[in-house]
């Protein structure tokens, strides 16, 4: 084997050469290992015979560009995820990605007259990098303690959903709730118990909402629940359900059984509203709930209290 062949076979990434008919003329060891397909099997055969999923308009467009213009094409992991469906390599079994994440580069192969006779394709495993990036992005939008979305993410989301509501007239509701007498929990049982209670409440509520709803930790013991495509009446029912299940929940922390209740404010956009005024009014409603006895739901649509909690009218 000449020097380049030796390198070709031993590098830690995939290297393929295709001729202008898209038949494989070279398939290095890395590709063989990852695919389970020997060079002998695939050499001379059309690539798409073995990997029909690669035959997409985008792939062909980029391939034709390389063959016509001799430029390079780059298939980034961000957009493509992967070209070849391989399992993540080695013992780094990412739980985020089912398939190996790949970054691929394609370029021209020329003969001695500089005519383009084929393309090379480099396949790099970037699963680890992609995992870190994903984690980083998640840390940016999620709350560390409870795992629900954080306030920064909420702002963006609220604005988007509000815009959608304004443009298409779609329904939207907002629930704000916080844990009653939370300070007492910290004072009596310590901050770690407080954290456990926060996690328990967040977790319970999170499992009670739909895929399309957003649960957000808004402040220390304050949460918001953004409900797209939901009207006020349904939001009220949901809020009451939240109240009941938290009332019934017991959190055990180091032999202490802790029970808490939540107060909830509910609102929906009205004419002339902005995202901020919706948020403010929901906050007002929450404040009213706290002021009128806690462990209840209050909704506000205009400046006045519309309806207090369904079971708690005194």
């Amino acid at each position: 084997m000449n020097e380049f062949s030796q390198i070709f076979e031993t590098v830690n990434f995939g290297l393929i050469i295709l001729n202008t008919e898209l038949k494989v003329t070279h398939w290095n060891h890395w590709m063989a290992r990852q695919s389970g397909i020997d060079a002998k099997q695939i050499t001379g055969a059309p690539l798409f015979d073995f990997f029909p999923e690669i035959n997409t308009p985008r792939f062909l467009r980029n391939l034709n560009s390389v063959l016509s213009f001799g430029n390079f094409s780059f298939f980034s992991q961000k957009l493509h995820r992967f070209l070849f469906p391989f399992k993540p390599a080695g013992s780094f079994k990412s739980t985020i990605f089912e398939y190996m994440q790949q970054s691929c580069t394609m370029g021209p192969i020329r003969d001695d007259d500089n005519q383009i006779t084929g393309v090379f394709l480099i396949v790099q495993d970037v699963t680890e990098l992609a995992s870190y990036e994903q984690k980083l992005m998640e840390m940016n939008i999620k709350d560390g303690l409870t795992g629900v979305y954080n306030r920064r993410f909420f702002q963006t989301r609220l604005n988007e959903e509000f815009q959608r509501h304004k443009r298409y007239g779609s329904k939207l509701s907002l629930i704000m709730f916080d844990i009653d007498f939370f300070k007492k929990v910290n004072d009596c049982h310590g901050h770690q118990c407080g954290d456990a209670v926060l996690q328990a409440v967040a977790s319970k509520i999170a499992s009670s909402i739909r895929q399309t709803d957003f649960l957000v930790r808004y402040g220390g013991e304050e949460f918001c629940c953004l409900l797209p495509q939901t009207g006020l009446a349904d939001a009220l029912l949901l809020a009451e359900r939240f109240r009941k299940i938290i009332e019934a929940q017991v959190t055990t922390y180091q032999q202490n059984d802790v029970k808490v209740t939540i107060s909830l404010g509910v609102s929906a956009p009205t004419i002339g509203d902005s995202a901020e005024s919706l948020l403010k009014r929901t906050d007002e409603a929450l404040y009213q709930a706290k002021n009128s006895g806690r462990n209840r739901v209050v909704s506000m649509l205009t400046g006045h209290i519309e309806q207090t909690g369904l079971d708690n009218i005194t």
């Binding site: 467009r61 980029n62 034709n64 560009s65 213009f69 001799g70 430029n71 390079f72 957009l79």
Partner: protein, 212 residues
């Protein structure tokens, strides 16, 4: 061999004709092979000092309120920077043009990525077409860096000052491109520096040799 870095009027004319031919072929191939229909204007050639480059670009772009720029380096005998300037919402329009929108679900984080990546992909192909055809006419082989978006949605351009040795001249080849089927227009700038000029002069002379 003329080792000065001065481009004569005649050399400029030759370069102009080569650019015309190259861009015409690029547009034709883009349409026939890639199914991308773009009109490339006759390129305008300017030679300015590299130190004046940031100002020049700022002036060119000041009329746009929001832009995105795709940048790619190329190097063969012909070497330099390519800048493709799009208006800010070009990504969305180009996604529709390429018909790839079915590939990803429309979550807001993803649609941003899809827009940017589409800009980069179209940019890569456009730059490759134009630079590639020029290289072909000049019997040159060019390699490329991966393209990147150097910024988006900013109204003031600040070019990195270290692009070129300030003592160099920059040859700026400017073309207006437009995708007629979508309302996407922009500029393509190819910026080469003095390092290329000596090679370029010889390449131009070699090209015209056939026509003496």
């Amino acid at each position: 061999m003329d080792t000065s870095t001065h481009i004569s009027e005649e050399e400029k004319d030759i370069l102009q004709e080569i650019m015309n031919i190259a861009f015409g072929k690029a547009a034709a191939d883009l349409a026939e092979v890639i199914n991308i229909f773009v009109v490339l204007s006759v390129p305008d050639i300017k030679i300015i000092k590299a130190v004046d480059l940031p100002n020049y670009i700022r002036t060119e772009f000041c009329e746009f309120s929001n832009i995105s720029i795709v940048e790619q380096n190329f190097w063969g005998g012909f070497k330099g920077n390519a800048l493709l300037v799009f208006q800010a919402d070009a990504g969305k329009e180009l996604i529709a043009l390429l018909g790839d929108s079915g590939e990803l679900t429309h979550e807001s984080e993803f649609s941003d990525i899809l827009e940017n990546e589409t800009l980069i992909e179209v940019g890569n192909i456009l730059i490759g077409a134009c630079v590639g055809k020029v290289a072909e006419l000049l019997q040159d082989v060019v390699t490329y860096s991966p393209p990147r978006i150097i910024f988006e949605d900013h109204s003031s351009v600040s070019m990195p000052k270290t692009l070129f040795d300030p003592s160099n001249s920059a040859i700026i080849l400017k073309t207006v491109f437009s995708f007629n089927e979508r309302n996407v227009n922009g500029f393509l700038f190819l910026i080469t520096s003095d390092n290329s000029v000596v090679w370029l002069k010889k390449a131009l002379a070699d090209f015209m040799e056939k026509y003496e």
